[in-house]
Protein backbone atom coordinates (compact mmCIF):
# COMPACT_ATOMS: atom_id res chain seq x y z
CA UNK A 1 0.00 0.00 0.00
CA UNK A 2 2.88 2.33 0.87
CA UNK A 3 4.52 1.57 -2.48
CA UNK A 4 1.30 2.25 -4.30
CA UNK A 5 0.89 5.60 -2.56
CA UNK A 6 4.45 6.56 -3.48
CA UNK A 7 3.85 5.58 -7.08
CA UNK A 8 0.65 7.60 -7.31
CA UNK A 9 2.39 10.63 -5.76
CA UNK A 10 5.20 10.28 -8.30
CA UNK A 11 2.67 10.17 -11.11
CA UNK A 12 0.96 13.29 -9.81
CA UNK A 13 4.31 15.07 -9.63
CA UNK A 14 5.14 14.09 -13.21
CA UNK A 15 1.81 15.41 -14.36
CA UNK A 16 2.42 18.69 -12.58
CA UNK A 17 5.66 19.28 -14.48
CA UNK A 18 4.34 18.01 -17.78
CA UNK A 19 5.28 20.15 -20.78
CA UNK A 20 2.16 21.73 -22.17
CA UNK A 21 3.26 21.73 -25.79
CA UNK A 22 2.95 17.96 -26.25
CA UNK A 23 -0.04 16.52 -28.08
CA UNK A 24 -2.58 14.73 -25.98
CA UNK A 25 -4.48 11.83 -27.46
CA UNK A 26 -7.43 9.57 -26.93
CA UNK A 27 -6.92 5.84 -27.29
CA UNK A 28 -9.78 3.40 -27.75
CA UNK A 29 -9.95 -0.22 -28.71
CA UNK A 30 -10.93 -3.81 -28.16
CA UNK A 31 -9.87 -5.26 -24.83
CA UNK A 32 -9.84 -9.04 -24.66
CA UNK A 33 -8.99 -10.58 -21.33
CA UNK A 34 -7.52 -13.98 -22.26
CA UNK A 35 -8.08 -12.66 -25.81
CA UNK A 36 -11.69 -13.81 -26.12
CA UNK A 37 -13.33 -12.34 -23.00
CA UNK A 38 -14.48 -9.31 -24.86
CA UNK A 39 -14.47 -5.70 -23.78
CA UNK A 40 -13.49 -2.14 -24.50
CA UNK A 41 -10.75 0.12 -23.28
CA UNK A 42 -10.31 3.86 -23.45
CA UNK A 43 -7.32 5.85 -22.29
CA UNK A 44 -6.26 9.47 -22.30
CA UNK A 45 -2.63 9.93 -23.29
CA UNK A 46 -0.63 12.74 -21.75
CA UNK A 47 2.94 13.03 -23.04
CA UNK A 48 5.44 13.75 -20.27
CA UNK A 49 8.60 14.08 -22.32
CA UNK A 50 9.40 13.68 -25.97
CA UNK A 51 12.52 14.03 -28.06
CA UNK A 52 13.85 13.09 -31.46
CA UNK A 53 17.07 11.17 -31.72
CA UNK A 54 19.30 12.80 -34.29
CA UNK A 55 20.99 9.56 -35.34
CA UNK A 56 17.92 7.87 -36.81
CA UNK A 57 15.16 10.40 -36.53
CA UNK A 58 13.13 8.22 -34.19
CA UNK A 59 10.86 9.98 -31.74
CA UNK A 60 10.94 8.79 -28.17
CA UNK A 61 8.06 9.68 -25.90
CA UNK A 62 7.26 9.04 -22.26
CA UNK A 63 3.54 9.04 -21.63
CA UNK A 64 1.14 8.95 -18.74
CA UNK A 65 -2.16 7.42 -19.78
CA UNK A 66 -4.99 6.85 -17.33
CA UNK A 67 -7.25 4.20 -18.83
CA UNK A 68 -10.38 2.26 -18.10
CA UNK A 69 -11.18 -1.17 -19.48
CA UNK A 70 -14.36 -3.19 -19.11
CA UNK A 71 -14.77 -6.77 -20.24
CA UNK A 72 -17.02 -9.78 -19.82
CA UNK A 73 -15.98 -13.33 -19.06
CA UNK A 74 -19.34 -15.02 -19.73
CA UNK A 75 -20.81 -16.95 -16.79
CA UNK A 76 -17.84 -15.96 -14.66
CA UNK A 77 -17.46 -12.23 -14.08
CA UNK A 78 -17.52 -8.71 -15.46
CA UNK A 79 -14.25 -6.92 -14.92
CA UNK A 80 -13.29 -3.26 -14.70
CA UNK A 81 -9.64 -2.28 -14.85
CA UNK A 82 -8.53 1.21 -13.94
CA UNK A 83 -4.97 1.58 -15.16
CA UNK A 84 -2.69 4.59 -14.71
CA UNK A 85 -0.12 3.66 -17.34
CA UNK A 86 3.42 4.84 -17.69
CA UNK A 87 4.54 4.21 -21.25
CA UNK A 88 7.72 4.54 -23.23
CA UNK A 89 6.96 4.77 -26.95
CA UNK A 90 9.38 4.85 -29.84
CA UNK A 91 8.10 6.04 -33.20
CA UNK A 92 10.37 5.40 -36.15
CA UNK A 93 10.83 7.74 -39.05
CA UNK A 94 8.37 5.62 -40.97
CA UNK A 95 5.79 5.85 -38.23
CA UNK A 96 6.13 2.39 -36.76
CA UNK A 97 5.65 2.40 -33.04
CA UNK A 98 6.96 0.17 -30.30
CA UNK A 99 5.94 0.65 -26.71
CA UNK A 100 6.48 -0.85 -23.30
CA UNK A 101 5.15 0.22 -19.94
CA UNK A 102 3.85 -0.44 -16.50
CA UNK A 103 0.58 0.24 -14.75
CA UNK A 104 -0.29 -0.22 -11.07
CA UNK A 105 -3.89 -1.01 -11.94
CA UNK A 106 -6.97 -1.40 -9.81
CA UNK A 107 -9.26 -4.31 -10.63
CA UNK A 108 -12.90 -4.53 -9.68
CA UNK A 109 -14.93 -7.55 -10.72
CA UNK A 110 -18.58 -8.49 -10.40
CA UNK A 111 -19.57 -12.13 -10.38
CA UNK A 112 -21.86 -12.94 -13.28
CA UNK A 113 -24.43 -15.03 -11.48
CA UNK A 114 -26.70 -14.79 -8.50
CA UNK A 115 -24.63 -15.05 -5.36
CA UNK A 116 -25.90 -16.50 -2.11
CA UNK A 117 -24.34 -16.70 1.30
CA UNK A 118 -25.51 -18.89 4.20
CA UNK A 119 -27.90 -17.16 6.57
CA UNK A 120 -28.09 -19.72 9.34
CA UNK A 121 -27.72 -23.47 8.88
CA UNK A 122 -30.58 -23.91 6.40
CA UNK A 123 -31.15 -20.59 4.72
CA UNK A 124 -29.42 -18.21 2.35
CA UNK A 125 -29.43 -14.53 1.57
CA UNK A 126 -28.60 -12.98 -1.74
CA UNK A 127 -25.45 -10.87 -2.03
CA UNK A 128 -25.94 -7.81 -4.22
CA UNK A 129 -23.10 -6.70 -6.49
CA UNK A 130 -20.99 -9.63 -5.35
CA UNK A 131 -17.42 -9.58 -6.50
CA UNK A 132 -14.14 -8.28 -5.26
CA UNK A 133 -11.35 -5.72 -5.46
CA UNK A 134 -7.75 -6.42 -6.28
CA UNK A 135 -4.46 -4.81 -7.11
CA UNK A 136 -3.48 -5.61 -10.69
CA UNK A 137 0.12 -4.65 -11.46
CA UNK A 138 0.49 -4.75 -15.23
CA UNK A 139 3.36 -4.82 -17.70
CA UNK A 140 2.71 -4.38 -21.39
CA UNK A 141 4.40 -4.41 -24.75
CA UNK A 142 2.91 -3.25 -28.02
CA UNK A 143 3.42 -2.28 -31.61
CA UNK A 144 1.54 -0.08 -34.02
CA UNK A 145 1.78 2.57 -36.67
CA UNK A 146 1.32 6.31 -36.55
CA UNK A 147 -0.35 7.20 -39.83
CA UNK A 148 0.29 10.91 -39.35
CA UNK A 149 4.01 10.48 -39.93
CA UNK A 150 3.96 9.59 -43.60
CA UNK A 151 0.38 9.81 -44.75
CA UNK A 152 -0.66 12.84 -42.75
CA UNK A 153 -3.67 10.98 -41.36
CA UNK A 154 -4.24 12.01 -37.72
CA UNK A 155 -4.61 8.46 -36.49
CA UNK A 156 -2.49 5.64 -35.18
CA UNK A 157 -3.33 1.98 -34.74
CA UNK A 158 -1.84 -0.22 -32.08
CA UNK A 159 -1.98 -3.67 -30.59
CA UNK A 160 -0.70 -4.56 -27.18
CA UNK A 161 -0.23 -7.53 -24.88
CA UNK A 162 -0.82 -6.93 -21.16
CA UNK A 163 0.48 -9.33 -18.54
CA UNK A 164 -1.16 -8.79 -15.18
CA UNK A 165 -1.05 -10.25 -11.73
CA UNK A 166 -4.21 -10.19 -9.63
CA UNK A 167 -3.43 -9.78 -5.95
CA UNK A 168 -4.95 -11.26 -3.92
CA UNK A 169 -6.55 -14.25 -5.61
CA UNK A 170 -7.73 -17.05 -3.35
CA UNK A 171 -4.70 -18.02 -1.25
CA UNK A 172 -2.15 -16.42 -3.58
CA UNK A 173 -2.13 -14.50 -6.86
CA UNK A 174 -3.36 -15.07 -10.39
CA UNK A 175 -1.62 -14.30 -13.65
CA UNK A 176 -3.91 -12.84 -16.27
CA UNK A 177 -3.23 -11.59 -19.77
CA UNK A 178 -5.14 -9.52 -22.24
CA UNK A 179 -4.86 -8.37 -25.80
CA UNK A 180 -5.69 -4.83 -26.90
CA UNK A 181 -6.12 -3.50 -30.42
CA UNK A 182 -7.39 -0.11 -31.39
CA UNK A 183 -6.66 3.41 -32.50
CA UNK A 184 -5.14 6.55 -31.05
CA UNK A 185 -6.56 9.90 -32.08
CA UNK A 186 -4.68 13.11 -31.30
CA UNK A 187 -6.80 15.71 -29.52
CA UNK A 188 -4.79 18.71 -30.65
CA UNK A 189 -2.39 19.48 -33.45
CA UNK A 190 1.24 18.73 -32.75
Amino acid sequence: MKNLTQLLLSLALMLAVMPEAQAQALRAGYYGETVTHYGLKVAYELPLRSYVKEKNGAQKTFLFAPGLAAYRHPHNHIGLVLSPELTYRRTSRRGRTFEVGLAPSYFRYFLEGTTYTPDGPDDFKQVRWAGGNAFLPTAFIGIGKDLSVRKNIPLAWYTRLNVMQQRPYNTSTLMRFSLEAGVTIPLQKQ
Partner: protein
Amino acid sequence: MKTVYTYLSLISLLTLLACSDRDPQPIEDNTLFLRNKGADMPIWVKGDRQSNKIILYVHGGPGDCAMCYRYYLKGLEANAMVAYWDQRVAGASSGKVEESTLRYAQFSEDMGFVVKLLKKQYPGSEIYLLAHSFGVELSWQYLTSGTNQQEVAGLMVVNGMFSFANWLMSVHEWALSEAQRQGNTEAEKYLMDHPVTTENAATIEWEPIYRWMYKLGGNPVSLYDDGKYVINYAFNSPNTALAQFTHSKAYSYYGNVESRRFEKGPLLRDIRIPVALFWGVKDGIVPLAVGEATKQVLTNAPVTEVRFSESWHEPFITETAKFNQAVLNFVR
Protein backbone atom coordinates in the same frame (compact mmCIF):
# COMPACT_ATOMS: atom_id res chain seq x y z
CA MET B 1 3.20 -9.44 -47.22
CA LYS B 2 1.66 -7.27 -44.50
CA THR B 3 -1.79 -8.02 -45.85
CA VAL B 4 -1.05 -11.72 -45.62
CA TYR B 5 -0.03 -11.32 -41.96
CA THR B 6 -3.20 -9.37 -41.24
CA TYR B 7 -5.38 -12.06 -42.80
CA LEU B 8 -3.46 -14.80 -41.00
CA SER B 9 -4.06 -13.02 -37.67
CA LEU B 10 -7.77 -12.70 -38.40
CA ILE B 11 -8.01 -16.34 -39.44
CA SER B 12 -6.22 -17.40 -36.22
CA LEU B 13 -8.70 -15.43 -34.12
CA LEU B 14 -11.68 -16.88 -35.99
CA THR B 15 -10.22 -20.39 -35.59
CA LEU B 16 -10.06 -19.86 -31.83
CA LEU B 17 -13.70 -18.87 -31.76
CA ALA B 18 -14.76 -21.65 -34.14
CA CYS B 19 -13.19 -24.26 -31.87
CA SER B 20 -15.68 -23.42 -29.13
CA ASP B 21 -17.54 -26.40 -27.77
CA ARG B 22 -21.11 -26.57 -29.03
CA ASP B 23 -23.86 -26.63 -26.42
CA PRO B 24 -26.73 -29.09 -26.68
CA GLN B 25 -29.04 -26.18 -25.87
CA PRO B 26 -29.88 -27.14 -22.30
CA ILE B 27 -33.25 -26.26 -20.92
CA GLU B 28 -31.72 -25.00 -17.70
CA ASP B 29 -28.68 -22.73 -17.85
CA ASN B 30 -28.10 -21.07 -14.53
CA THR B 31 -25.01 -19.62 -12.90
CA LEU B 32 -25.00 -19.44 -9.13
CA PHE B 33 -22.28 -18.53 -6.68
CA LEU B 34 -21.97 -19.68 -3.11
CA ARG B 35 -20.09 -17.28 -0.87
CA ASN B 36 -18.78 -18.97 2.25
CA LYS B 37 -15.81 -18.17 4.48
CA GLY B 38 -13.91 -16.04 1.98
CA ALA B 39 -14.63 -18.13 -1.10
CA ASP B 40 -16.94 -17.35 -4.02
CA MET B 41 -17.64 -20.74 -5.54
CA PRO B 42 -19.41 -21.00 -8.91
CA ILE B 43 -22.12 -23.59 -9.48
CA TRP B 44 -23.17 -23.88 -13.11
CA VAL B 45 -26.43 -25.77 -13.49
CA LYS B 46 -27.19 -27.04 -16.97
CA GLY B 47 -29.57 -29.57 -18.44
CA ASP B 48 -33.10 -30.86 -18.38
CA ARG B 49 -34.98 -29.16 -15.55
CA GLN B 50 -38.07 -31.29 -16.00
CA SER B 51 -36.14 -34.41 -15.02
CA ASN B 52 -36.10 -33.20 -11.39
CA LYS B 53 -32.72 -34.86 -11.04
CA ILE B 54 -29.51 -33.03 -10.35
CA ILE B 55 -26.14 -34.68 -10.77
CA LEU B 56 -23.72 -32.71 -8.60
CA TYR B 57 -20.25 -33.22 -9.97
CA VAL B 58 -17.72 -33.25 -7.12
CA HIS B 59 -14.39 -32.74 -8.80
CA GLY B 60 -11.08 -34.19 -7.81
CA GLY B 61 -7.64 -32.77 -7.18
CA PRO B 62 -7.74 -31.25 -4.73
CA GLY B 63 -7.68 -28.14 -6.85
CA ASP B 64 -9.09 -29.53 -10.07
CA CYS B 65 -12.20 -28.01 -11.68
CA ALA B 66 -15.74 -29.07 -12.51
CA MET B 67 -16.78 -27.09 -15.56
CA CYS B 68 -13.60 -28.13 -17.34
CA TYR B 69 -15.06 -31.67 -17.56
CA ARG B 70 -18.34 -30.53 -19.07
CA TYR B 71 -16.69 -31.19 -22.40
CA TYR B 72 -17.12 -34.90 -21.55
CA LEU B 73 -20.16 -34.85 -19.25
CA LYS B 74 -22.54 -32.68 -21.23
CA GLY B 75 -24.12 -35.80 -22.73
CA LEU B 76 -25.84 -36.17 -19.36
CA GLU B 77 -27.65 -32.87 -19.76
CA ALA B 78 -30.29 -34.22 -22.15
CA ASN B 79 -31.73 -36.37 -19.36
CA ALA B 80 -30.81 -34.61 -16.12
CA MET B 81 -29.45 -31.38 -14.73
CA VAL B 82 -25.75 -31.34 -14.02
CA ALA B 83 -24.41 -28.98 -11.36
CA TYR B 84 -20.76 -28.19 -11.94
CA TRP B 85 -19.38 -26.87 -8.65
CA ASP B 86 -15.85 -25.54 -8.30
CA GLN B 87 -14.63 -26.10 -4.76
CA ARG B 88 -12.99 -23.28 -2.78
CA VAL B 89 -9.69 -22.13 -4.33
CA ALA B 90 -10.17 -24.55 -7.25
CA GLY B 91 -11.23 -23.92 -10.83
CA ALA B 92 -12.95 -20.57 -11.23
CA SER B 93 -13.56 -20.02 -7.52
CA SER B 94 -12.36 -16.64 -6.37
CA GLY B 95 -12.23 -14.53 -3.24
CA LYS B 96 -9.65 -14.14 -0.53
CA VAL B 97 -9.30 -17.51 1.06
CA GLU B 98 -7.25 -18.51 4.09
CA GLU B 99 -5.13 -21.60 3.58
CA SER B 100 -6.31 -22.83 6.96
CA THR B 101 -9.78 -23.38 5.46
CA LEU B 102 -8.49 -26.02 3.04
CA ARG B 103 -9.54 -28.87 5.30
CA TYR B 104 -11.91 -31.79 4.84
CA ALA B 105 -14.32 -30.32 7.39
CA GLN B 106 -14.54 -26.99 5.54
CA PHE B 107 -14.93 -28.63 2.13
CA SER B 108 -17.69 -30.76 3.63
CA GLU B 109 -19.44 -27.70 5.05
CA ASP B 110 -19.23 -26.02 1.63
CA MET B 111 -20.66 -29.12 0.00
CA GLY B 112 -23.54 -29.16 2.48
CA PHE B 113 -24.40 -25.59 1.55
CA VAL B 114 -24.16 -26.38 -2.16
CA VAL B 115 -26.62 -29.26 -1.73
CA LYS B 116 -28.99 -27.07 0.31
CA LEU B 117 -28.74 -24.20 -2.16
CA LEU B 118 -29.56 -26.52 -5.06
CA LYS B 119 -32.55 -27.85 -3.14
CA LYS B 120 -33.77 -24.29 -2.54
CA GLN B 121 -33.31 -23.39 -6.18
CA TYR B 122 -34.87 -26.59 -7.51
CA PRO B 123 -37.50 -27.73 -5.01
CA GLY B 124 -38.48 -31.36 -5.40
CA SER B 125 -35.32 -32.33 -7.25
CA GLU B 126 -33.27 -35.33 -6.23
CA ILE B 127 -29.56 -34.80 -5.90
CA TYR B 128 -27.01 -37.42 -6.87
CA LEU B 129 -23.32 -36.97 -6.18
CA LEU B 130 -20.93 -37.85 -8.98
CA ALA B 131 -17.57 -37.81 -7.22
CA HIS B 132 -14.18 -38.28 -8.78
CA SER B 133 -10.87 -39.00 -7.01
CA PHE B 134 -10.43 -36.35 -4.25
CA GLY B 135 -14.13 -35.63 -4.68
CA VAL B 136 -14.76 -39.15 -3.37
CA GLU B 137 -12.85 -38.38 -0.16
CA LEU B 138 -14.88 -35.22 0.15
CA SER B 139 -18.14 -37.08 -0.44
CA TRP B 140 -17.34 -39.70 2.21
CA GLN B 141 -16.45 -36.89 4.59
CA TYR B 142 -19.81 -35.26 3.90
CA LEU B 143 -21.93 -38.42 3.92
CA THR B 144 -20.45 -39.78 7.15
CA SER B 145 -21.18 -36.52 9.01
CA GLY B 146 -24.46 -36.16 10.90
CA THR B 147 -27.53 -36.93 8.82
CA ASN B 148 -26.12 -35.60 5.56
CA GLN B 149 -26.78 -38.77 3.61
CA GLN B 150 -30.49 -38.05 3.91
CA GLU B 151 -29.94 -34.99 1.73
CA VAL B 152 -28.90 -36.93 -1.37
CA ALA B 153 -30.41 -39.76 -3.38
CA GLY B 154 -27.22 -41.58 -4.20
CA LEU B 155 -23.47 -41.46 -4.71
CA MET B 156 -21.41 -42.41 -7.73
CA VAL B 157 -17.79 -43.13 -6.83
CA VAL B 158 -15.28 -42.73 -9.66
CA ASN B 159 -11.77 -43.98 -8.84
CA GLY B 160 -11.55 -42.51 -5.36
CA MET B 161 -10.52 -43.73 -1.93
CA PHE B 162 -12.03 -44.07 1.54
CA SER B 163 -8.81 -44.74 3.48
CA PHE B 164 -5.29 -43.42 2.97
CA ALA B 165 -3.68 -46.61 4.28
CA ASN B 166 -5.80 -48.84 2.06
CA TRP B 167 -5.08 -46.57 -0.89
CA LEU B 168 -1.30 -46.47 -0.43
CA MET B 169 -1.10 -50.23 0.03
CA SER B 170 -3.12 -50.67 -3.16
CA VAL B 171 -0.92 -48.28 -5.12
CA HIS B 172 2.18 -50.09 -3.85
CA GLU B 173 0.72 -53.45 -4.80
CA TRP B 174 -0.28 -52.18 -8.25
CA ALA B 175 3.16 -50.67 -8.90
CA LEU B 176 4.99 -53.79 -7.73
CA SER B 177 2.85 -56.00 -9.89
CA GLU B 178 3.46 -53.76 -12.92
CA ALA B 179 7.20 -53.56 -12.20
CA GLN B 180 7.39 -57.35 -12.21
CA ARG B 181 5.24 -57.63 -15.31
CA GLN B 182 7.32 -55.05 -17.19
CA GLY B 183 10.64 -56.43 -15.90
CA ASN B 184 11.59 -53.10 -14.32
CA THR B 185 14.08 -54.32 -11.73
CA GLU B 186 14.90 -50.86 -10.36
CA ALA B 187 11.27 -50.19 -9.57
CA GLU B 188 10.78 -53.70 -8.21
CA LYS B 189 13.78 -53.38 -5.90
CA TYR B 190 12.62 -50.01 -4.56
CA LEU B 191 9.12 -51.23 -3.95
CA MET B 192 10.28 -54.48 -2.33
CA ASP B 193 12.59 -52.48 -0.05
CA HIS B 194 9.76 -50.13 0.95
CA PRO B 195 6.71 -52.19 1.81
CA VAL B 196 3.56 -50.39 2.94
CA THR B 197 1.60 -51.66 5.91
CA THR B 198 -1.36 -50.36 7.88
CA GLU B 199 1.11 -49.41 10.60
CA ASN B 200 3.57 -47.39 8.47
CA ALA B 201 1.14 -45.90 5.91
CA ALA B 202 0.80 -42.61 7.76
CA THR B 203 4.55 -42.08 8.07
CA ILE B 204 6.23 -43.75 5.09
CA GLU B 205 7.53 -41.53 2.29
CA TRP B 206 4.75 -42.07 -0.22
CA GLU B 207 5.83 -39.79 -3.09
CA PRO B 208 8.53 -42.15 -4.51
CA ILE B 209 5.98 -44.98 -4.59
CA TYR B 210 3.53 -42.68 -6.33
CA ARG B 211 6.19 -41.62 -8.84
CA TRP B 212 7.00 -45.24 -9.68
CA MET B 213 3.31 -45.89 -10.21
CA TYR B 214 3.23 -43.06 -12.74
CA LYS B 215 6.41 -44.22 -14.50
CA LEU B 216 4.93 -47.68 -14.80
CA GLY B 217 1.91 -46.31 -16.68
CA GLY B 218 -0.52 -45.62 -13.84
CA ASN B 219 -2.31 -42.93 -15.84
CA PRO B 220 -0.95 -41.96 -19.25
CA VAL B 221 -4.05 -39.91 -20.12
CA SER B 222 -3.56 -36.16 -20.35
CA LEU B 223 -6.36 -33.72 -21.02
CA TYR B 224 -3.89 -31.44 -22.71
CA ASP B 225 -3.28 -33.90 -25.54
CA ASP B 226 -6.64 -32.90 -27.00
CA GLY B 227 -6.08 -29.55 -28.71
CA LYS B 228 -9.77 -28.82 -29.13
CA TYR B 229 -10.31 -29.41 -25.43
CA VAL B 230 -7.45 -27.05 -24.52
CA ILE B 231 -8.69 -24.25 -26.78
CA ASN B 232 -12.22 -24.61 -25.49
CA TYR B 233 -10.98 -24.67 -21.90
CA ALA B 234 -8.78 -21.61 -22.24
CA PHE B 235 -10.80 -19.36 -24.50
CA ASN B 236 -14.44 -20.39 -24.67
CA SER B 237 -15.57 -21.60 -21.28
CA PRO B 238 -16.33 -20.04 -17.90
CA ASN B 239 -13.11 -21.56 -16.52
CA THR B 240 -10.44 -19.21 -15.27
CA ALA B 241 -7.68 -20.43 -17.56
CA LEU B 242 -4.51 -19.98 -15.54
CA ALA B 243 -6.06 -20.49 -12.10
CA GLN B 244 -5.27 -24.20 -12.18
CA PHE B 245 -1.62 -23.41 -11.71
CA THR B 246 -1.86 -20.93 -8.84
CA HIS B 247 -2.67 -22.90 -5.77
CA SER B 248 -0.81 -26.20 -5.54
CA LYS B 249 1.21 -25.03 -2.52
CA ALA B 250 -1.98 -24.21 -0.65
CA TYR B 251 -2.71 -27.93 -0.28
CA SER B 252 0.51 -28.82 1.48
CA TYR B 253 -1.25 -29.42 4.80
CA TYR B 254 -3.71 -31.68 3.02
CA GLY B 255 -0.89 -33.63 1.35
CA ASN B 256 1.43 -33.85 4.31
CA VAL B 257 -0.93 -34.17 7.23
CA GLU B 258 -4.66 -34.34 6.76
CA SER B 259 -4.98 -36.83 3.93
CA ARG B 260 -2.63 -39.21 5.72
CA ARG B 261 -5.08 -39.45 8.61
CA PHE B 262 -8.03 -40.02 6.30
CA GLU B 263 -9.86 -43.18 7.32
CA LYS B 264 -13.59 -43.60 6.73
CA GLY B 265 -13.70 -47.39 6.48
CA PRO B 266 -15.48 -48.08 9.78
CA LEU B 267 -18.03 -45.31 9.07
CA LEU B 268 -18.98 -46.62 5.64
CA ARG B 269 -21.05 -49.39 7.14
CA ASP B 270 -23.51 -46.65 8.14
CA ILE B 271 -24.03 -45.59 4.55
CA ARG B 272 -27.48 -46.66 3.39
CA ILE B 273 -28.02 -44.69 0.20
CA PRO B 274 -27.42 -46.35 -3.19
CA VAL B 275 -23.77 -46.29 -4.21
CA ALA B 276 -22.33 -46.94 -7.65
CA LEU B 277 -18.67 -47.83 -8.05
CA PHE B 278 -17.41 -46.70 -11.46
CA TRP B 279 -13.82 -47.77 -12.02
CA GLY B 280 -11.22 -47.34 -14.72
CA VAL B 281 -9.66 -50.80 -14.53
CA LYS B 282 -6.16 -49.79 -15.69
CA ASP B 283 -5.82 -46.97 -13.13
CA GLY B 284 -2.72 -46.91 -10.98
CA ILE B 285 -3.59 -43.69 -9.15
CA VAL B 286 -6.54 -45.26 -7.36
CA PRO B 287 -6.37 -48.90 -8.39
CA LEU B 288 -9.30 -51.23 -8.81
CA ALA B 289 -8.35 -52.92 -5.53
CA VAL B 290 -9.58 -49.78 -3.75
CA GLY B 291 -12.95 -50.17 -5.44
CA GLU B 292 -13.14 -53.78 -4.34
CA ALA B 293 -12.26 -52.80 -0.76
CA THR B 294 -14.89 -50.03 -0.87
CA LYS B 295 -17.53 -52.59 -1.78
CA GLN B 296 -16.45 -54.78 1.17
CA VAL B 297 -16.98 -52.01 3.72
CA LEU B 298 -20.30 -50.79 2.30
CA THR B 299 -22.19 -53.56 4.06
CA ASN B 300 -25.50 -51.74 4.37
CA ALA B 301 -25.71 -49.84 1.10
CA PRO B 302 -27.07 -51.12 -2.21
CA VAL B 303 -23.96 -51.17 -4.38
CA THR B 304 -23.73 -51.42 -8.15
CA GLU B 305 -20.50 -51.68 -10.11
CA VAL B 306 -19.48 -50.64 -13.59
CA ARG B 307 -15.95 -51.29 -14.78
CA PHE B 308 -14.29 -49.46 -17.64
CA SER B 309 -11.79 -51.85 -19.09
CA GLU B 310 -10.12 -49.33 -21.42
CA SER B 311 -9.75 -46.57 -18.85
CA TRP B 312 -7.33 -45.31 -16.24
CA HIS B 313 -8.12 -42.58 -13.70
CA GLU B 314 -10.75 -40.66 -15.66
CA PRO B 315 -13.12 -43.10 -17.40
CA PHE B 316 -15.34 -40.19 -18.45
CA ILE B 317 -12.50 -39.05 -20.74
CA THR B 318 -11.54 -42.39 -22.22
CA GLU B 319 -14.95 -44.11 -22.38
CA THR B 320 -17.26 -41.12 -22.42
CA ALA B 321 -20.39 -42.67 -23.93
CA LYS B 322 -20.30 -45.76 -21.71
CA PHE B 323 -19.62 -43.63 -18.67
CA ASN B 324 -22.49 -41.23 -19.30
CA GLN B 325 -24.83 -44.14 -19.91
CA ALA B 326 -23.78 -45.71 -16.60
CA VAL B 327 -24.51 -42.44 -14.80
CA LEU B 328 -27.95 -42.12 -16.39
CA ASN B 329 -28.75 -45.76 -15.60
CA PHE B 330 -27.93 -45.07 -11.95
CA VAL B 331 -30.02 -41.93 -11.58
CA ARG B 332 -32.97 -43.24 -13.62
